[in-house]
Every structure is written in structure tokens, then in C-alpha cells.
């Protein structure tokens, strides 16, 4: 406890950074991921191929390597200068969006083709079909794994600590400079992560349980 009160400022600012990284890259990867999913289910082959290539490449690359690229290699390309924190958000967004894309795509694919055919036969327009038939059903199979992906994103934000961002993963480095007890410090970090992740896990499980029955 004494360690926590001594370093309360450090813990607060570090977890604030973590949550900021999480919020920004969650929004970013939801947008980019949905866009990629749109590409992947589009009737135009070029779009499908582009989406598939991106997803395959990114999903098979370690997140640490994506960070590595944005921290060390990207500045050499002299495109737009970004600081470490922005780099971390971009890296997390690019990485997570590939997984979100797959979740959304497989969710849309769980809706039987007959549903769309029936709504077209009833004369619904594309928007009506999407809004009142396909998406409400797809939601059920998309949201629980989507929450899982976001949990993974929250945990993945710690990787940015290895690349000069002062998030919760970097608490360790600051404590080590002070010669504080790292065992206690890291246990607290782990504890706070459990506190952050558990509600999300419960949310995911209850959604899953409720919706899998209705299907």
C-alpha cells in the first residue's frame, strides 16, 4: 500500500495514458476495421483483394514489429512527423483493425443468404435490408467477439511502453529508476489491469449468453 501512495501520481498518469491510447485506438480501429470489412464483402474483386491482403499481412505480423516500424523506421521515410504517442495509436489502430475486420466480416457471413433474398423479394431497398434485416442479426454474432478484441487491445497498449510511451507498462521503468520494490509495483499494475479487464469480460460473457440463446 505504501508503494501505491508514494507513487499514486505515477500510477494515475500512466493509467490515464493507457486509457487514452485505448480509447483513441478503439475508435480508430473500429472505423478502419469496419471500412476494411466493407472492402472484404464488396462485390468488386479489387476491393476484396486489397482488404484481404491488408488483413493477411497485418494479422501475421507481431504487434511489436508494427511498433518497431513506427518508432524506428517510419521517421526515416520523412512523411509526416509524429510523436511516440501518436505513433503508438497508429500502430495499435492498424494492428487491431485487421482483427475487427475479421470479426465484422464473419458476423455478416453468419446471416443466412435467404434472409437477404427474402427481404429483396419483399421489395426492401438496400438500406432497409441492411438496417432492419441483416445488421440486427449480424450484431448478435459480432458484438461479443468485438468486446474480446477490445479487451485484447486494452492489454496490447502495454507494448507501447517498450517504445518510449509513458503508459501503464512503463511504470516499471520509472520505479526501477527510483529503486522501488518492483515486485510490489508490478503486482499493482497487474491488479489494476484485472480491475479494468474484468468488467469487459463479464459484459462479453453476458452478451454472448443472452444472444446465443436467441439465435
Amino acid at each position: 500500500m505504501s508503494l501505491l501512495s508514494t507513487y499514486s501520481g505515477l500510477f494515475l498518469s500512466a493509467f490515464a495514458t493507457t486509457l487514452k491510447l485505448f480509447a483513441l485506438s478503439a475508435v480508430g480501429s473500429l472505423l478502419l476495421g469496419t471500412f476494411l470489412a466493407m472492402l472484404r464483402v464488396s462485390p468488386v474483386p479489387v476491393f476484396r483483394a486489397a482488404g484481404a491482403t491488408y488483413v493477411t499481412l497485418v494479422r501475421n505480423t507481431p504487434l511489436t514489429l508494427v511498433f518497431f516500424f513506427f518508432t524506428f523506421a517510419y521517421p526515416l521515410l520523412q512523411i509526416v512527423k509524429i510523436d511516440y504517442e501518436t505513433g503508438a495509436v497508429v500502430a495499435l489502430t492498424m494492428y487491431t483493425s485487421a482483427f475487427i475486420c475479421e470479426v465484422v466480416r464473419s458476423g455478416i457471413n453468419t446471416v443466412p443468404v435467404g434472409q437477404a433474398e427474402a427481404s429483396r423479394a419483399l421489395g426492401l431497398t438496400f438500406t432497409q435490408m441492411l438496417g432492419s434485416v441483416v445488421l440486427p442479426q449480424a450484431m448478435r454474432s459480432v458484438v461479443p467477439p468485438l468486446v474480446s478484441t477490445l479487451i485484447a487491445l486494452l492489454k496490447n497498449t502495454t507494448v507501447s511502453a517498450g517504445f518510449s510511451v509513458g503508459d501503464a507498462g512503463a511504470i516499471q521503468a520509472s520505479l526501477s529508476e527510483d529503486g522501488a520494490n518492483m515486485l510490489v509495483g508490478l503486482s499493482w499494475v497487474a491488479f489494476f489491469f484485472i480491475l479494468l479487464v474484468m468488467p469487459l469480460t463479464f459484459l462479453q460473457r453476458s452478451l454472448e449468453k443472452r444472444w446465443s440463446v436467441a439465435r
Partner: protein, 290 residues
């Protein structure tokens, strides 16, 4: 092609798709062109930057660091499977005093970020005089985290089997262990193989976290090589080459998963065993671990 969102296109839609295809090609070409131009403009295409690829010493060192990555992967994978099997056995147990702790351990290790666990072993434990090498810390972290995820996968696999399988085995007079090892596990493992292997891909990718605590694996060597002044600090080319190596390694593993899945699908005995239900249980568990 007809899918849930789009009908088979008529002549008008086909024309629209062709227009969109042209736009798409132009867009993709634009992005690739821009990246290529930035590469060219910042001198990444200069022969000097790529020269290092020709040195046999560097090739050997690169192979050696791939070996270090694969070593962490292999040891971590085996340990995680064993640990996962033990935890799954605990979670499936009829005794609450086994089920409780196993569930607790799985929940804890799945909620703590892997990097924090690795830090805990490498930086935290020396406080109570337990010192370990970077390799051990990475492998231990990989084992605990992926073991917990795999435990959930194994459990979901066993649960997805029709109840009649276990009932029939009990009716034949088998004991609990026999029912599990002879009847349930062989079937569950076959159904779960694709999920298990995609978890192993995650494990392979996570070995790269060793870079952060200076375990001398592929990414660590990449940074060393990228800093070499005599090759003009080829960070960009090195990142690309290392990225390709990772993608190839993971794709080989994924390919294995797909091949196994295809072989499974041909086997009619398994096909009927409620694979649909399995998807519901298994995918969220696996999706949590990217």
C-alpha cells in the same frame, strides 16, 4: 457471386462494378506509388541500404536469431499445451476444490497483459532473489498466458461433444480418466486443432515481446542490424525483411491449420458432432488473445 448483402449483378450493376474496380485499382496504385516514392525519395532503394543481405555472416546471424525466436516458440508452445491441459482438466473436474482454483488461475492470467507478466518475472522477481534469464522470463510468460487461453479452448472442445459420447463410455464401464483420455479428448482435440494452431500463431507472434526485455531474438537482431552505420543504418529494409520472415513463419503455421481442418472436414464422423455449437463457444475465447 451472391452473398447476403449483394444480389447477382445485372448489366447496370456490372458496369458500376467495373467503374469501381478502376477506381480501386487507381487508389491502390496511388497508395503503393506514394509509399514507393517516399522510399525512393528518402534513399531506401539505394543499393548500399540492401548490401547487408549479401554478407554470409549477417545471413548466419539472422538465421541464428530466427532460431532464437523459434526456440522460445517451441518451448513456449509445448509448455503452454501441457499447462493448458492441466488447467482444462481442473476446470472440467467434478470437484469444486479443483475447479475453483483452475478457473481463478485462468481468469487472472487471461486478464493481465503478457508484457506485464514478462516484466514481473524478469524485473519483479529479483526483489525476492529469484533471477532468471530473458529466455526463461519470455517462455514463462508465454506459457502462463497461452496455457490459460488453451485451457479454455480445450474445455470448449470437450463441452462441444454430444453428451451421449460420455454417457455411452460410462455405460460401458469406463472410469472417469478412461472416458476423458480414450473417448472425449481424442475427438475434442481433432475438432479444436484449427483453434489450437491459431493460438500457436499468436504465441509465435508474442515471442517478439522478448525484444522489449532484450531477449536476443529476431527483432532484437533487427534493431542491432538497423543501427549499423557501415550499411547506412538500414532500419527500413531490415524491418521489411524481418516482417516478411514473420509473415512467412505465421502463414506456414496457418497453412498447417487449414490443411488439418480440410482433413478433418473429410472425416464424416466428426462433421455431425455439433461443430456449429463449437464455433459459438470457441471463437470468442480465442479472439480475446491477439
Amino acid at each position: 457471386m451472391s452473398n447476403v448483402l449483394f444480389d447477382v449483378p445485372g448489366p447496370k450493376a456490372r458496369f458500376r462494378h467495373q467503374v469501381l474496380a478502376v477506381v480501386g485499382v487507381l487508389g491502390v496504385a496511388g497508395i503503393i506509388g506514394f509509399i514507393g516514392f517516399r522510399f525512393y525519395d528518402s534513399g531506401q532503394f539505394e543499393p548500399k541500404m540492401w548490401e547487408w543481405l549479401q554478407y554470409t555472416t549477417i545471413q548466419e546471424q539472422l538465421l541464428k536469431s530466427v532460431g532464437a525466436t523459434l526456440k522460445a516458440f517451441a518451448v513456449g508452445a509445448v509448455c503452454a499445451m501441457v499447462f493448458g491441459a492441466v488447467l482444462a482438466a481442473g476446470k472440467l473436474s467434478e470437484h469444486a476444490f479443483l475447479r475453483g482454483p483452475a478457473t481463478f488461475v485462468v481468469e487472472i492470467f487471461r486478464a493481465v497483459p503478457l508484457l506485464i507478466m514478462i516484466f514481473f518475472f524478469y524485473f519483479g522477481l529479483p526483489a525476492i532473489d529469484i533471477k532468471m534469464s530473458q529466455f526463461t522470463a519470455v517462455v514463462l510468460g508465454l506459457t502462463l498466458y497461452n496455457g490459460s487461453v488453451l485451457a479454455e479452448v480445450f474445455r470448449a472442445g470437450v463441452m462441444s461433444l454430444p453428451r451421449g459420447q460420455a454417457e455411452a463410455a460410462y455405460a460401458l464401464g469406463m472410469r472417469k480418466t478412461q472416458v476423458m483420455t480414450l473417448v472425449l479428448l481424442p475427438q475434442a482435440l481433432r475438432v479444436m486443432l484449427p483453434t489450437i494452431i491459431s493460438q500457436l500463431v499468436v504465441l509465435l507472434k508474442d515471442t517478439a515481446l522478448g525484444f522489449i526485455i532484450n531477449y536476443e531474438e529476431l527483432l532484437y537482431y533487427a534493431k542491432f542490424l538497423g543501427g549499423q552505420g557501415q550499411f547506412g543504418r538500414p532500419l527500413v529494409p531490415v524491418t521489411i525483411v524481418v516482417g516478411i520472415i514473420y509473415v512467412i513463419m505465421c502463414l506456414l503455421l496457418t497453412w498447417l491449420a487449414v490443411t488439418l481442418e480440410k482433413r478433418n472436414r473429410r472425416n464424416k464422423k466428426i462433421k455431425t458432432n455439433g461443430t456449429k455449437k463449437l464455433d459459438d463457444v470457441a471463437i470468442p475465447a480465442a479472439a480475446q488473445s491477439l
